[in-house]
Symmetry: C2
Subunit: 907 residues, 2 copies
């Protein structure tokens, strides 16, 4: 529900607007209203938050507990319901598939269109460059200006439309899939900005990739698609409102977990349709985004990614680019003898070197970002002219790749895709160390330089592209680093392969048949190893098989990828984790196995002891002040401030609506009372008399501010002076159902059932008089003041009866595991039922990072001194159990340790 | 700790034995003892239980809290510790790798040797059959007797050595990885039985597979290997004893989670080295065994499986079977045009048909098992002669495959591997419907019959093999069903492919170039689809790529596998789940998305209200009676029977040792007191006087039984009458450290610290007098009686301060998710800190299965009536929160619902 304050407010605004609509026909209006409510409930449930609950059950109440409500359209409503219930089972099976198919289809189209546009952009550059071959300076201008303009446009466009679209998107998706709401990352604006920005950025020919952004685009697409599908009904709508069989509590939120599943599937689709690699896509997305993976959702990703990859390749066939569906970068290595056993050490060397290279790349990337951030003067300048940095970087890189200039030594005129195709070629470039023997055809010519050896070209290519890629990925445009790294890896592999081919011109195999070395195979291994090292994944192995369409080098690839990972993981975080740290995204770092200090940290060391809570018998004013103070998503409900027994947790939005309801709906009762007893006109005295403490009066102005915000229209409402009976009745009718806690039969204690059912009577009673609203602004203020002093009625409020609880002695390790397993945001710490603290992701992150940074040095946990010295606060609150223990100990073993007793007391 | 009762007892037995060892030198003895303890601790931690904790910390106590303990060898000990601590960081990095490499190596060797033996067995059968070609009857006898003997031997051998080795093993591994202890499934005996049984079973030529058993064998291997490695020290030993930084509480148990990780990796290795398919192995093992998968453990599986597959294939190269490392069933389909777009419907048809076929296979398999179980007369007969059923089934199957008989119509003379090789051949068997055009060479001849069309042969092969495989997998020998199903699927695919080739002799492609249809590709698709349908996995797609060494058919394979899964999953459970149900293994079923009833079930409906608990002030007699009553692994510790406030949980073994300690160690004190004050000889009166209730006296005999069981040697000890001082001191020295709760600094309340530290003083005090044990049996009994009436001292007991708690209104869905995520065994249900019930896997399973079987019919949960009628027990116990609520409601809204109040009371 986070971030839904605006929705809530919009709803309330609409509600207040309703007062002007009394002339409309009841049935039509009710239907309209129902649709609107449905939609808003829908919108709310789309938000990626795990902590809403019981909404479905409220909807049940709407039908069961309040049959009187929609008297006129009740028949319609019931018939609609039965039809929907019939549809329900069908949709249960089908809707998922439809969604995944649509997602795959859309993403395949997007991927294909983006690729198509990029190809046109690159062709245009080549055409310009080729057309101006008479004048080198003009050529240079064209070569340089084109990417600068594109990148600058991309950066500017993204900056203006949606700055969230900048960068890869995988770190953000990782965070979102962790359960943290990053709402603005999944909007239509971001989608547009990302797609157009990415197309321009890649069209410029910079060493950037489309893989990371495509993960983000696919997720955006999934989020938008589910919104879109909700317009046509189906589960997306039914679940949020009508069926009432949901458990919205933590983790049980079907809609939420479905959302997460769908987003996970979308990530797979993103990789799948980018590389036409469904299996690799699924695995890569799992490795990159998830901590714990639910195997039952496996098929979603597989299905959607396969469909997407299929459509993506079919489009190529239909476009006559290909004869049939094949791999994107098809290789033609020999099948019968792909490699010799004795070549394996060379593959292992590629793996280990790639591991170091990958770590270096991540380090370099971070270094550049941090350098630019730290340099105040540069930074200030760049901040002012936001587009200058991209332009400068592009200028530098494109200058260096200018083919007649330095670019001739590093195959500068080849695009990324062309480079990769040539690198994966199954022919050997260098034989016996002399490059001339190979007839370079097509793009492969670019690697041949009359004066310079092919080895030098490759080495220069690797070195230049390495820092260029690390630099280019810091440009604030939508871009990924996977593909550049992949190409660099392929080049490195090729280099090793060419060296091997030069050393063993007739192959290594000792038997009669000669099998020359295939440097293309080395390129495949290198590409998988380096990209695996940078991203800390092993599934790049699968991606290369799918990209090349050959799996013959499986063992070398696997060996190299594993070695690269082993090296890189011990040196640096993955590129995505590095970005998460740079961007300070709310992600929970991994708890390494080696950090023993963490086993000594307990929840009591890291928890926040100053918990915001509300008591069962608080008044609305307390509610108000609590809401004004903090910005927590949920608040703890305790029995009383003395006992502190935790009863449950309530969402902030719930409390807000409770407060606003109190100030808007009760208005009617007050109104009636005014009419019935016109003589007893002394409400202002009452309101003044019972504001007993000064704090309340002090906050009066603040409260006013809130009340105008939350029931904006109420003071101005008296302007419409017509009889308002039907319209007045409805707000409560429409509003309340979504607020009611649970349907009666969900309570095991039947006590509450009758209470809920009795509400209608009260309602009916209130609606007796035909009343008119003619209060003045002052009267309203006074009345509101009185309302605030009433005790809160939590019956109309959704309370999560089982918020997640920890005990103060729960270890950090356990807490971490539970948080990451269940995707928790916060957990209450209780001691024998009493609320003593709260731990949120923030505290946990701090505790983990605190000990991670100093690992190996300190044995004592960072907060050990705090615990050992035993400050009074920790003693009084945290040692409940130990006190009990001691008490019993003293009874059971009397006089056994008299000295220890005194020791204890002296401390 | 489950099942460690025997270890515990052995330990205690050893302890008692120690009394006789007083003559040994102190230092030597201490070292020996330390080694033994280490090993036993090791053994204990090997057991797959998630619920042990804090053992490490106890070991810390041994060093920090009790420096006085090992006076003589203390120096050695400390130096050893420092060396070990140095080694620790290294081992932290290295040990995992070493373990995985060893596992991969051993499994590759096992796989290769098994394959080699199977090949020899099959060759022997062919040789016998070929040598007797003069006489058909003799030929038949040889053909039939050979497998019957082998299968009967295999069944008998397995039955005698380890009946747990029967069957696939994947269902058991699934259960074990869920966290349930199936101890006897991971023993050396099982390993031997499984390997030898499997070799014989597969050597017989029956349609059985080695994949499932290999998953089990790999897990066995991992379990044994970790035991073996513990002998040489390293983490396996350090963790269990010395380092003291572990959190042994639920989930935090590093050793346990490591075990689970290692077993998961082992499963991957099993598949990997069976098919030389590392990636497919990892994915398949994840899909088949896990519910939630921790991505951070991914690399383990990959590494081990890759290494294993590598060694497995390298062995083949060294054995001159292969020239270099290639795929197991290498195909040579053309790369440039693997299939036409228009062939995709045919692939989809294969997928859908395979889905139905897969479901039918699972159903047939279950039907056969159930039929045999139900038929009382058959069953009785078969039960008596356990080896008759395997022999009969083998006889039937081998008779039908007899090549000169019916076998000639179904390529009966081919072994499974040969069939697969021929089915995956890239040439077309049938052109234009006439089989003659293809020159059948080698094994492919078997498919050609002079009278019968190749289509008929294929159809017969599919039909016969289908029921034969379903039947053969019910034989009680170690065997899997994956490979037979794989072959059937390949045959089905081949059939479709041959049909397509017959219908479109020149291929479908409309352009100028002619690309004939490749039936081998269809066989690949069919194999993946059918095996995917039977096992409910999509990773079979990856397995076929790795098996065939070609990935060109990726899209058809993926499409077919997904369709097959979609069909099969909606019809039947997977083969492994089906076996889990048949075998009634303690596995938690999946909670389908479609079952809405479950959202209405709450924990309070399914929990057991009669919780076994112990109170903080209970006496040893209570402990004893609680231990005698139930067999729960852990017991709840509550503050008192009145308050029922849950303080933690204690393991059964802990309590047992506490009890035995009380009866053995305190003996010394008693002894001293006897010596010091010989006049006050009235212990029997005391013991009789304070056994105030009759129940205690009634259970006296029973207690005796226990006391003899748990401290067997104590009554007979007086036989050795030499001075026992040094020996007497040591038991407490050696025993206590593993029993002490936590190291002092782990307690945030320092209160307990002094208490712990004071124990040494007591100890020192006790050791003052030089005493001799000269009690009679009767005296001992009386003394024990007194001991039992003392209050339990929980200081020397490991208490889990944070057992998993649920609230009574937690939904079934949430409970299920938490149980499966955290791998819980049980959870306590609390209401405002008060223990009101316990939910274990059993209850959860019942609740889920109860509503699964009646799905679609009932909307109300099975126990809803119980809740609605509100029996007194549920009311009093479960409505605590509601009462509170009501109380406050009444205060806050006085007189609003007078009718509802009365309603409530009348109910």
């Amino acid at each position: 529900m986070a971030g839904d304050g605006s929705d809530q407010r919009a709803l309330q605004y609409e509600q207040t607007l309703m007062y002007g609509r009394y002339t409309q026909e009841l049935g039509v209006y009710a239907k309209e209203e129902a649709a609107r409510l449905r939609e808003s409930g829908q919108r709310r449930s789309r938000a990626l938050d795990l902590l809403e609950y019981d909404k479905g059950r409220c909807a049940k109440c709407r039908r069961s507990g309040y049959p009187y409500v929609l008297e006129a359209p009740a028949q319609d409503f019931i018939s609609v319901c039965t039809v929907r219930c019939q549809k329900f089972l069908i949709s249960r099976v089908g809707e998922d598939w439809i969604f995944l198919i649509l997602l795959g289809l859309v993403m395949a189209l997007v991927s294909w269109v983006v690729d198509f546009c990029i190809a046109i952009c690159l062709q245009a550059q080549k055409w310009m460059y080729g057309g101006l071959d008479s004048n080198v300076f003009l050529q240079y201008l064209a070569w340089v200006t084109y990417p600068v303009v594109l990148i600058t446009f991309s950066a500017g466009f993204t900056q203006i439309l949606a700055p969230q679209a900048v960068g890869s998107g995988i770190p953000e998706m990782k965070t979102i899939l962790r359960g943290v709401v990053l709402k603005e990352y999944l909007t239509f604006k971001t989608f547009v900005a990302k797609v157009i920005g990415l197309t321009c950025a890649l069209g410029s020919g910079m060493p950037l990739g489309k893989e990371g952004p495509f993960v983000h685009i696919a997720s955006l697409c999934a989020a938008l698609l589910s919104k879109f599908m909700s317009l046509f009904g189906g589960i997306y709508e039914k679940e949020s409102g009508l069926v009432g069989i949901k458990d919205y509590s933590l983790l049980g939120t079907k809609n939420e977990s479905r959302n997460i599943e769908m987003l996970a599937a979308a990530c797979a689709v993103g990789v799948g349709c980018c590389f036409a690699a469904p299996i690799g896509g699924v695995l890569f997305s799992i490795e990159v985004t998830s901590t714990f993976f639910a195997v039952r959702n496996y098929w979603r990703g597989f299905f959607a990614a396969t469909f997407s990859a299929f459509i993506f390749r079919v489009l190529a066939v239909w476009n006559r680019d290909e004869e049939t569906i094949t791999a994107l970068f098809k290789t033609r290595f020999r099948l019968d003898f792909p490699f010799d056993l004795q070549e394996l050490p060379a593959f292992a060397v590629i793996g280990i070197a790639s591991g170091f290279g990958g770590a270096l790349f991540v380090y370099l990337n971070r270094l550049i970002v941090q350098f630019i951030r730290k340099q105040k003067t540069i930074n200030k300048f760049l901040m002012k002219k936001r587009l200058l940095y991209p332009a400068l970087v592009t200028l530098l890189i494109s200058t260096l790749t200018f083919p007649p200039g330095f670019g001739q030594f590093m195959a500068g005129k080849l695009t990324q895709g062309e480079s990769l195709v040539t690198l994966l070629d199954n022919r050997t470039w260098a034989k016996q160390g002399i490059a001339e023997e190979f007839d370079y055809i097509g793009n492969a010519q670019a690697w041949k330089h009359p004066q310079v050896n092919v080895f030098v070209t490759l080495v220069l290519f690797i070195i230049m592209k390495f820092w260029m890629s690390a630099l280019a990925t810091t440009i604030p445009v939508p871009c990924g680093a996977f593909m550049p790294v992949f190409v660099i890896g392929a080049a490195f592999g090729r280099l090793v392969g060419e060296c091997m081919a030069a050393w063993f011109p007739d192959g290594i195999h000792s038997d009669e048949s000669i099998y020359p070395i295939v440097p293309g195979g080395y390129a495949v291994v290198g590409a998988a190893a380096l990209s695996g090292a940078v991203t800390h994944t092993v599934s790049t192995a699968v991606i290369v098989f799918e990209l090349t369409g050959q799996i013959s080098h499986i063992l070398p690839v696997m060996i190299a990828v594993i070695l690269a990972n082993a090296v890189a993981q011990s040196l640096q975080p993955s590129l995505y984790d590095s970005i998460i740290r740079i961007k300070k995204l709310p992600y929970l770092p991994e708890l390494g196995w080696g950090h023993h200090e963490k086993y000594n940290i307990r929840v009591e060391d890291i928890m926040v002891r100053d918990v915001r809570y509300i008591t069962l018998n608080c008044c609305y004013r307390d509610l108000h002040s609590v809401l004004m103070l903090g910005h927590l998503k949920t608040l703890a409900l305790v029995e009383s401030a003395e006992s502190m027994i935790l009863l449950g947790s309530i969402e902030r939005a719930q409390l807000q609506s409770l407060l606003s309801q109190q100030l808007s709906r009760s208005r009617r009762m007050e109104y009636i009372r005014e009419r019935a007893a016109a003589e007893k006109k002394c409400p202002s005295d009452v309101s003044n008399s019972d504001s007993e403490d000064g704090r309340q009066r002090a906050s009066q102005e603040v409260r006013f501010q809130i009340s105008t915000e939350e029931s904006t229209f109420s003071p101005t409402r008296p302007a419409s002076q017509k009889p308002l009976k039907p319209a007045l009745k409805r707000p409560s009718v429409m509003e309340r159902p979504t607020k009611l806690p649970t349907s009666p039969q969900d309570h095991s204690g039947i006590a509450l059932k009758s209470l809920f059912c009795s509400s209608p009577d009260v309602e009916a009673l209130e609606d007796d008089g035909d009343v008119e609203d003619d209060m003045t602004l002052r009267e309203i203020a006074e009345w509101e003041e009185r309302q605030l002093d009433e005790q809160v009625d939590f019956n109309n409020c959704k309370i999560d009866p089982a918020p997640f609880q920890l005990v103060e002695r729960t270890s950090l390790h356990k807490t971490h595991t539970i948080f990451s397993l269940l995707g928790l945001d916060h957990a209450y710490v209780t001691s024998i039922g009493r609320l003593i603290g709260v731990v949120s992701l923030k505290e946990l992150r701090k505790a983990i990072e605190g000990s991670v940074t100093v690992k190996g040095v300190k044995v004592r946990p960072p907060l050990a001194s705090f615990r050992d010295s035993g400050t009074s606060s920790s003693e009084t609150e945290a040692t409940e159990l130990h006190k009990l223990w001691d008490r019993h100990r003293n009874v059971s073993l009397p006089g056994e340790q008299p000295t220890s007793e005194s020791d204890e007391k002296s401390q």
